[in-house]
Symmetry: D2
Subunit: 185 residues, 4 copies
């Protein structure tokens, strides 16, 4: 069984909506167990349990929120060096397009890499002129079908990578590479 | 007279359209002289001439194009250390939202900072859920009014900063700070 | 009078030592008033007061500490959009070289740009194979002369840029550009 | 057999020296086949062949060199979307500490993520105050034992991750996590 953890912070509820869609996407991969946790409730045990972790945050001043930062600094800081090789990814909701949501995703990936994680973005296009190359990003709440699908696709890809690399389902790698959604319009 | 240079690369013509709008925005600030150059035509003399420089590129693999990179590495590489303190900013067109246009802007700002430039993004919102905190970003060509206005606003802000800091028009700083467009919807 | 604020967080005391050296560098520019504040003590009024701000943090998981993040998110969050055009820079102490101190500086510059600041690094070399292109960085405490000088140089450059752009001392710009330390060995 | 490709650009020969050490580290993992290629000689077929790829560049203006950029833009651009899920990492030599080598590594990781790669840094310390959290970094040529070991460790970790995730040698993951070098002095 692949084990996927989704940790998120939320201010307006928008990032929480994204997190639920990421969870939905992860669950769509057969044999995946999913935990969905607000950053205030997530624990070291959750992180130790997971093979793959998606971390979401409102875009605050171009980076993850201070609560997400505190989680990595203080709550799981002493796991550092003991959890290398897990798989990680990011998602973020900003106030507007051009408001830093991609850069906030990069700040999350920076932290995950610091813990020795393998991190990724998704090459697929989930709609016209809409993708998630460095994590799922939305301005405001995920409302359109493509915004929702970006979140689901992130969770699905995370669960797929966990299935491929932790559960040995190598045949999935071909499916990932031959996604019908790999186009640039 | 404030002197603003706009350098761009373009593959499909989208970034060139952005560049022309950035130039339009810069010209809207009284007393600003503007040069608009494709990266193949820009020279060292252009860079030496300018007080402020906006650099635009298609988002290619999440960064500026290799031609933009080559310009900084090879064409103006030996100006390094002699042009500190100029003002710089960035713009980029990606294939889709979430496709790396913000991160491509950051790669441009990284190069400009390496030359000792003062770099900036813009806090203003130019439409509903649309801003340019790390540079003007568009998916595809600038088509909607807010996409066009993001480009113009970037050029205008660059020319304003040049007028404030190089030409001593300090009164403009108040206008920048009290922009009616500083809201998050 | 140029007004320079230095805000820092510190865990082991290393970043505090850097902060004091940054302050020393800023004071070396005639006509500069300097405030040095731990992040727990810095206030909105300090930020409103300053023309130039240097922000320092231990490198925690590749980014600024959560306390520095909380300062920008919560303490001065409602100044957003009203303090554009100030000048900012960064410094950071990591556990080791290659440990993320440059990337932590970039995370600080990201926040400062989000507030509309003009941000910069320094092209000068302050010793053999030692510079501060994205902010002053040290592994552990600033111990060698070049590590100390990197911190001082950052503060001095910040004060010089404030003098040039806020106090109209344009003649300093030539000095900045003709620094004897602009070499790559 | 795990297949590891090392691609590098070099100006002074320093990054080439790093590349050879990375190759040496990769070969130290039993059952690993290694290809070492200058960017001018690397081909699409090399990239298709590899399970894991380390990319090295001189730090040029804070990013990878334009030749490395051109390789991703033009030489292998049409593999985009067909090589997802490979494992990637970065290394860079800058003129000095604080000169952008970490940020150049991030620019390489940005490109690799854009291709759907899983990218990583290394938590291990390879000497006193010396690590490679975002890739192996050196100022000038790799001369000290810790600088050399950083390069070797990067290659070894890449080969270990390839062995774990592509060849199913799960027992290696424990060894990675219990490295005696995971300390902060």
């Amino acid at each position: 069984m692949g084990r996927v953890l989704i940790i998120y912070d939320t201010r307006t509820g928008n990032t929480e909506k994204m997190a639920k869609l990421v969870a939905e996407g992860a669950r769509s991969v057969e044999g995946t167990e999913v935990r969905l946790k607000h950053v205030d409730e997530a624990t070291k045990e959750d992180v130790l349990w997971a093979d793959g972790i998606a971390v979401g945050s409102p875009t605050n001043m171009g980076l993850a929120s201070w609560k997400i930062k505190r989680f990595f600094d203080d709550v799981i800081g002493d796991l550092w060096g003991e959890i290398d090789g897990k798989i990680g990814c990011a998602f973020s909701s900003s106030g507007g397009w051009g408001g830093g949501n991609e850069i906030a995703c990069m700040s999350i990936l920076t932290m995950l890499m610091n813990f020795g994680f393998l991190v990724f973005g998704v090459t697929d296009y989930v709609g016209k002129k809409f993708t998630l190359h460095y994590g799922a990003v939305v301005a405001g709440e995920p409302r359109s079908e493509e915004e929702k699908e970006a979140c689901r696709r992130l969770g699905r890809r995370l669960a797929e990578f966990v299935a491929i690399y932790f559960d040995g389902k190598k045949e999935l790698l071909d499916r990932v590479r031959k996604s019908p959604d790999k186009f640039v319009d």
